[in-house]
Amino acid sequence: MSWFSLTADEWEAVRLSLRVATVAMLASMPFAVAMAWLLARRDFWGKSLVNGLVHLPLVLPPVVTGYLLLLGFGTRGPLGSFLAEFGIVFAFRWTGAALACAIMGFPLMVRAIRLSIEAVDMRLEQASATLGANAVWVFLTVTLPLTLPGIIAGMILCFAKAMGEFGATITFVSNIPGETQTLPSAIYTLTQVPGGDAGALRLTAISVVISLGALMVSEYLARRAGQRIAA
């Protein structure tokens, strides 16, 4: 076996990580857009509390977030047992890893989109309303397209965060090869066993390439979208 080729387990970790990160990014996007719009454009009672809760995963130790998820979505947790009745299980499944990653990446995505919505000139939204567009159409035809660079940037940030998420994931769904062992968990495991250095190094290289690639793609997409809508 050559030094460069990955073992089956290592491949599995890479594939799983990509899947978890992609699902986390796509599934949280609509919620992030809605939350960002709410925080950017609406004043309501308890706004600072909501804002604080959204940002909490950013400042809490990831282990705490993972443990809270375990308490809430575990098999005996209130949400976990409720959802289990509909066949939705997060605990010790890859879906749980995706949930943990989505929650950890959520504040990053919301921040990027919120800044972008705040930068949209509200006078354009007024113009849209005088031309006959109701609030939903104003959002869909003016606010959303002009926010696109921020949404792309936010999604990629969330993806990159999900690729690197470790603490919350391992606490919530453990480290089961083939099910919940993502790239960082696999690297961690390899560093704990004798002779795992080569594997850990290979996965580290992959991790660097994917993260760097994601950042470059996001820069490129955001720049292109920005050029298209520049006034």
């Binding site: 006078r123 031309l131 159409w137 006034a231």
Partner: protein, 364 residues
């Protein structure tokens, strides 16, 4: 058309209270910046909600706080041309123009795309993006976008203010064609005497959040006290005249008004049509006796109605010329020499007149 606006609102430490009922078709809201003009049109558009107020368009309530009626902007069908164009940067000119059209119910559409493209001269811009347009082009596209939504009323908030003199001169004829060809009721906000006098049929003068004067353009034009100091040079009267005939030999067109006959260069309109003529006070000289052997084409007799101070060394004199007013701005010295007092006879020697297109009279 009839537009009733009655508004009371508080904006920080500024309060706005105004009420007028305009027969249109072009209502100008005139006043210095900060006088509350834009707030007033924002109330008409529904972008601002006053503490108390009423906006009735042809009798239909768009806003009536007493009856708890407040149509949101998108249901008012009022076009709004903003000072800063506000074209959608992510859409082409063509998509910008189609935007309002798309939201207008089919049965309510009256605007014809080709006619409007032609009227505004924007047909060649369709594939461009707003960032590739000049200021004047942007404003014309913004007017087209508002018109293609087939609005019941068009609001224009200082549409020329952000443009330089050359661009202003470029857009003005389009606005006059808009008034005369599309015949849509317009509310035109401006601080420029020149724009207001060229376009308006009814004028509301705002000052410090209050309505200072309101009435037909020809009446308001005579009120020199309404013209701000820095715009005094542009003060003058407007007379609606009847086109008599054009003489190809001299190149002059004869116009008739109660004040007398006027001759202006060029052809204006077919005989029988009405034309709006503007005479600025600084273009009028006064004589105590009928002048003879003089190059000026237009001399009308009148009786001095009013002499008002205009700065330390000048006065403005309002002549009653058989019911029509002509205003002259002359030096205080000259007024003394001629012995001008209310009741004395004088002749107005008019050095220049400008014809501002067919009269903006209310149409049936």
């Amino acid at each position: 058309m009839s537009l009733l606006v009655d508004v009371e609102m508080i904006l920080g430490d500024f309060s706005l209270a105004a009420r007028f009922d305009s027969p249109g078709p072009v209502t100008a809201i005139f006043g210095a910046s900060g006088s509350g003009k834009t707030s007033l049109v924002n109330v008409i558009a529904g972008l601002r909600r006053p503490e108390r107020g009423q906006v009735l368009l042809n009798g239909e309530a768009l806003l009536d706080t007493a009856r708890h009626i407040d149509l949101p902007p998108h249901r008012r069908r009022i076009g709004y041309v903003f000072q800063d164009a506000r074209l959608f940067p992510h859409l082409t000119v063509s998509a910008n123009l189609a935007y309002g059209e798309w939201f207008t119910p089919r049965a309510a559409r009256y605007a014809l795309r080709l006619q409007i493209l032609d009227l505004l001269g924007i047909g060649h811009l369709l594939a461009r993006r707003p960032r590739d347009l000049s200021g004047g082009e942007k404003q014309r596209v913004a007017i087209g976008r508002a018109l293609l939504a087939s609005p019941r009323l068009l609001l224009m908030d200082e549409p020329l203010a952000s443009l330089d003199a050359a661009r202003k001169a470029e857009i003005m004829p389009y606005l006059e064609r808009l008034r005369d060809e599309i015949r849509i009721p317009i509310v035109y906000v401006s601080h420029s005497v020149n724009e207001v006098m060229r376009l308006a049929s009814t004028i509301a003068v705002m000052e410090g959040g209050r309505l200072k004067a309101f009435g037909p353009a020809s009446d308001i034009a005579q009120r020199l006290d309404l013209v701000p100091e820095e715009e005094r040079e542009e003060a003058g009267v407007i007379l609606d005249m009847t086109v008599k005939q054009h003489d190809p030999a001299t190149g002059l067109t004869e116009l008739a008004s109660a004040a007398g006959r006027f001759f202006v260069p060029g052809t204006i309109a077919p005989g029988g049509a009405t034309a709006r003529v503007r005479i600025r006070a600084r273009d009028v000289m006064l004589a105590a006796e009928e002048p003879r052997h003089i190059s000026a084409l237009n001399i009308v007799p009148g009786i001095v109605a009013e002499v008002l101070a205009a700065g330390p060394h000048a006065v403005t004199v309002r002549l009653d010329c058989n019911g029509e007013a002509v205003i002259a701005r002359i030096t205080r010295h000259s007024a003394g020499q001629l012995g001008l007092r209310p009741g004395t006879r004088a002749f107005a020697i008019i050095k220049a007149v400008s014809v501002a297109g067919p009269a903006a009279r209310a149409r049936p």
